[in-house]
Symmetry: C2
Subunit: 211 residues, 2 copies
């Protein structure tokens, strides 16, 4: 099943608005949310470690918990089809064997290349400073979050990226190891019932220089 309803890239990026209020009667099936996440996670990441992790918060009970740490964003929590909590996994190298092993199984990588790369990556991660790992994970989580918001629009939904919540509390609230999983953002998703505001961007000449 492919439920994509809008495939027009220009309209997807130019029509995206931060939407706070959603149609409460619209839910997103696990099947469709899985498609959206499958599209989102086609994003690239540092040495393909895919350090992003997601909680799809959609039950009344889980939303009520989230509401306690997202006080300025109650409207999104209450009306969205789901709130997606995006985390970065600091232990992302734990999945290296699975990722590279699958590449070999699928004939995408010779076994000897996998062994060589895993040895080299193992050495890299063993001496990777914690702050560099953390920053890489945040950047990669930013990449996937953008693609997630665009994939949502391709499926006919809108989103709001939210940084304003109690980041220090979210992992424990959902029984995750807070030393391992670092909070990145919340993304509300659902069917918009407002137009959202157009917002201003700085001119390209202000943010870019040619060399």
């Amino acid at each position: 099943m492919n439920t994509t309803r809008n495939n027009d890239f220009t309209s997807i990026i130019t029509g995206r608005r931060s939407i706070r209020k959603y149609d409460t009667s619209v839910k997103i099936s696990k099947e469709e949310m899985t498609e959206i996440l499958t599209e989102a996670t086609l994003a690239p990441s540092s040495v393909n470690m895919q350090p992003w992790r997601f909680l799809i918060i959609e039950s009344q009970e889980a939303k009520a918990k989230l509401a306690t740490i997202a006080k300025f964003n109650q409207l999104q929590v209450e009306t969205s089809a789901a709130m997606i909590a995006v985390f970065g996994d600091l232990n992302n190298f734990d999945y290296a064997e699975e990722i590279y092993g699958t590449a070999v199984e699928r004939g995408l990588m010779p076994a000897e290349v996998k062994e060589r790369q895993l040895t080299s990556l193992g050495a890299h991660f063993a001496k990777l400073p914690a702050d560099v790992n953390r920053e890489t994970v945040l950047i990669d989580a930013g990449l996937v979050s953008m693609q997630l918001m665009l994939a949502a629009r391709a499926h006919g939904y809108d989103t709001n990226a939210i940084g304003g919540f109690e980041k220090d509390q979210i992992a424990e609230l959902f029984d995750m190891d807070k030393e391992r999983y670092i909070p990145v953002m919340l993304i509300s998703i659902g069917k918009a019932v407002e137009e959202g505001y157009a917002s201003v961007r700085l001119p390209v000449d202000t943010v870019a220089q040619w060399k």
Copy 2:
């Protein structure tokens, strides 16, 4: 002028590969690069501060400088139409007056809302811990980088997101204040002359949980 050549969202995201080798005869005009950056910077950011900054490194001289700090990625530096260095601006609040003032000028925001928001944001940024500012900037820079790579594909180009370079040296090398501008990634861009490798993604059930 609109030079967009591919508007098919599905093909843009599913066909994206990390490309290392480009057609050296293909350059990207400043006009078209400006369009790509205009599309990229439609990405959202925390309180719309747009903390992303870009160096478009395309001259032989600037590329030769960059090559000294990107030793494992010489092929991209040599063959790309340009290397885009993405930075985060830790002083992004300096642009608040310009961003919100323009919104008022364009009739997108009443003047009193602007004043109220700038007062509130001023108080927020004044007490924002440096590490929180830094992490927010990295996440926002991740968002814009993803949209940049997709916009590039809409214009018929391919990219490679590169984290492996001497991040501690890039600002000074290009005469930027390294205390203010933090390096995020390099993005090579150009016309691909190789297919690139398909790569494996972890199953959604491994990276997501429903609550």
